[in-house]
């Protein structure tokens, strides 16, 4: 399988699922070519609604559609859709409307457009709402399964997708389950939890670490909420050191969720890798290197963390 952006895999999955499920509709705010719902819109023009550049209205319309039995995928860049947090909080979450919120263009990996288009706080915001699961798939296989899961899930849900292509990381026969994570590489010295755009970099970082004699366990945490607490605690108990790697603010994202879990249940030395400044324009690889989210940066941080 060649690398594919999770937004592209989402667009394909949606089209496929919609063929046999006429409850599925889309609501976009002038970004359907970027969120990749455009294929669905062309195949089902009567079920695709573009409300123009009005994201709060988009979210509310999605809630209303859900309340009449539709399964709306409400899509924009992660920063723009979650930027309408108050509408999500009331019209979707508190109303318990069966809306599938889709935030694409997650993180600094969008590159050249710069900070204004980067979703860097979305996980932190949505995590604070009690009834919205957060799924950030790590590759095409996982994305397609997560989209199928989202259709069947009763209640609101947030799907966080990338602009950039993702290397395949899912093991053969992988089946997505809400609240379950998967060990992609077993190890004994340190647990690396990654999600979305950083998973393959974490795997490559682990390969570098192996050359230094450090055996890292790499876990794909596609489910940021609910976390796979059992798996994370088991791995942390074994390795004694945990590192989270995410293309999101270091505050309130996967790292925050893991910090909350470990500090309450199994205090374990933890290093959170992510973005601690505003983003900026640049090529995605250069940005990942600058923020220490590339394989070399991840390996370096782990070695320092372990005092090697």
């Amino acid at each position: 399988m060649p690398p594919k952006a999770s937004r592209a895999a989402f667009g394909e999955a949606l089209l496929e699922l919609a063929a046999t499920d006429d409850r599925i509709v889309t609501v976009d705010a002038d970004l359907s070519k970027s969120t990749m719902t455009i294929g669905f819109a062309k195949a089902h023009p009567d079920r695709a609604f573009n409300v123009g550049i009005a994201e709060a209205n988009m979210v509310g319309i999605g809630a209303g559609l859900a309340l009449t039995g539709k399964v709306p995928f409400v899509c924009s860049f992660a920063c723009f859709i979650v930027g309408r947090f108050e509408t999500i909080r009331m019209s979707v979450a508190y109303t318990d409307a069966n809306v599938k919120l889709v935030g694409t263009h997650a993180g600094i990996a969008i590159g050249e457009d710069g900070y204004s288009q980067m979703g860097l706080e979305d996980i932190a915001c949505i995590r604070a709402l009690p009834n919205i699961p957060i799924i950030q798939p790590g590759d095409e296989t996982e994305t397609k399964q997560a989209v199928a899961y989202a259709v069947g899930h009763q209640g609101p849900l947030y799907l966080r997708l990338t602009r950039q292509a993702l290397e395949p990381v899912s093991p053969p026969g992988y089946r997505f389950q809400l609240g379950k994570s998967v060990v992609l590489r077993a190890g004994t010295d340190v647990t690396i939890l990654a999600s979305g755009g950083t998973v393959s970099n974490a795997l490559d970082g682990a390969t570098r670490l192996a050359a230094e004699g450090v055996h890292a366990e790499v876990i794909n945490a596609a489910c940021i909420k609910p976390l796979d607490e059992e798996l994370i605690l088991r791995s942390a108990g074994k390795t004694g050191h945990v590192v989270t790697v995410e293309d999101h603010s270091v505050a309130g994202g996967l790292g925050g969720a893991v910090a909350e879990l470990l500090s309450e249940v199994l205090p374990t030395p933890l290093r959170r890798l992510g973005v601690s400044t505003f983003g900026e324009s640049g090529d995605p690889r250069g940005l990942y290197a600058k923020h220490g989210l590339d394989p070399a940066g991840i390996a370096d941080s782990v070695l320092k963390f372990l005092n090697r």
Partner: protein, 307 residues
């Protein structure tokens, strides 16, 4: 629609006003002004217009009411109780711990509430989505959304205003949606005109493509006639500007911003109920002897005063 039984609707609205005052006095907080301004609209909707079944609040073909100005939910609770969604005795649990009668509407707590509202500006977008979903399903159901004038200062209202006449076109126009403005001219901090005037409100909505009707929002015949006209209007949703009086029916609450968000004390509540029922102070003692339901409410308020 049949001609409304005006006297019956007016009597129902009076009874609901009494319940609004009663529940707010027991809650000790809440919003009487806007509840009293919107109650004639809600009464006409629930008792002369809507298709619903209180025993099946999730009936797919039901008409929907989205009270976007969610702080006025006491008015909605009063008509829902009278319509049989829950017993009127439950009204006094408003805002109390564990009650489904939350301070602002909670869909998950009380069957019959269509959406969580109260964070202002969001109800019209939800209503657009509902109206669209019903059109897509070829449902005969209609959607009624009620917004406030202060609420209309929210930007999301205007995103939705722009979308209303356009969304779903041409196959699924949202002519199953009727938007009603409870134009009582007062918001929390004072008079709308002084804080951030909406005028010219009719011209604004016409320019956004909505057919606009202007009525007296306390005249049930005018309300009903406008709802008829809205239902007969094809191809676009209709906007009804209902001119109302904040605190309508209680002399000391009418047109006073103070009563936007303060509950009456028990003695004030008893006086308010007497005024709503149109009984003079001198005749009140004799009246209460003849109206057992009101006597019970008054006795309950007198007990509340002592606690």
């Amino acid at each position: 629609m049949a001609r409304p039984d005006t006297a019956r609707l007016q009597a129902t609205a009076r009874a609901c006003r009494v319940q609004i005052i009663r529940m707010l006095a027991h809650a000790g907080s809440g919003h009487p002004g806007g509840s009293l301004s919107v109650i004639d609209i809600l009464t006409t909707l629930f008792f002369n217009r809507l298709r619903f079944d209180p025993k099946r609040p999730d009936w797919p073909a039901r008409d929907r009411v989205v009270l976007s100005k969610g702080h006025c939910v006491p008015a909605l609770y009063s008509v829902m109780a009278r319509a049989g969604f829950f017993p009127e005795s439950q009204l006094v649990t408003l805002r109390k711990l564990g009650s489904p009668l939350q301070g602002h509407p909670d869909r998950t707590a009380l069957p019959g509430i269509e959406a969580a509202t109260g964070s202002l500006g969001q109800g019209l977008s939800i209503s657009l989505g509902m109206a669209l979903g019903l059109r897509l399903a070829d449902s005969p159901a209609r959607v009624y959304c009620i917004i406030g004038d202060g609420e209309s200062q929210e930007g999301q209202v205007w995103e939705a205003a722009m979308a209303g006449p356009k969304l779903g076109q041409p196959a699924h126009p949202l002519d199953n949606l009727c938007l009603i403005l409870d134009y009582n001219k007062i918001q929390l901090d004072g008079f709308v005109k002084k804080i951030m005037d909406l005028e010219p409100v009719v011209a604004k909505w016409k320019d956004f493509g909505w057919p606009v009707l202007e009525i007296d929002g306390h005249n049930v015949e005018q309300i009903d006639k406008a709802l008829d006209q809205a239902e007969a209007t094809k191809g676009r949703p209709t906007f009804i500007v209902a001119h109302t009086v904040k605190g309508k029916g209680v002399s000391f609450m009418e047109n006073d911003p103070e009563w936007h968000g303060r509950a009456p004390k028990p003695a004030e509540a008893i006086r308010a109920i007497r005024e709503i029922l149109g009984v003079s102070d001198a005749a009140w003692g004799d009246y209460v002897k003849t109206d057992r339901a009101t006597a019970a409410i008054v006795a309950e308020l007198e007990r509340l005063e002592k606690t």
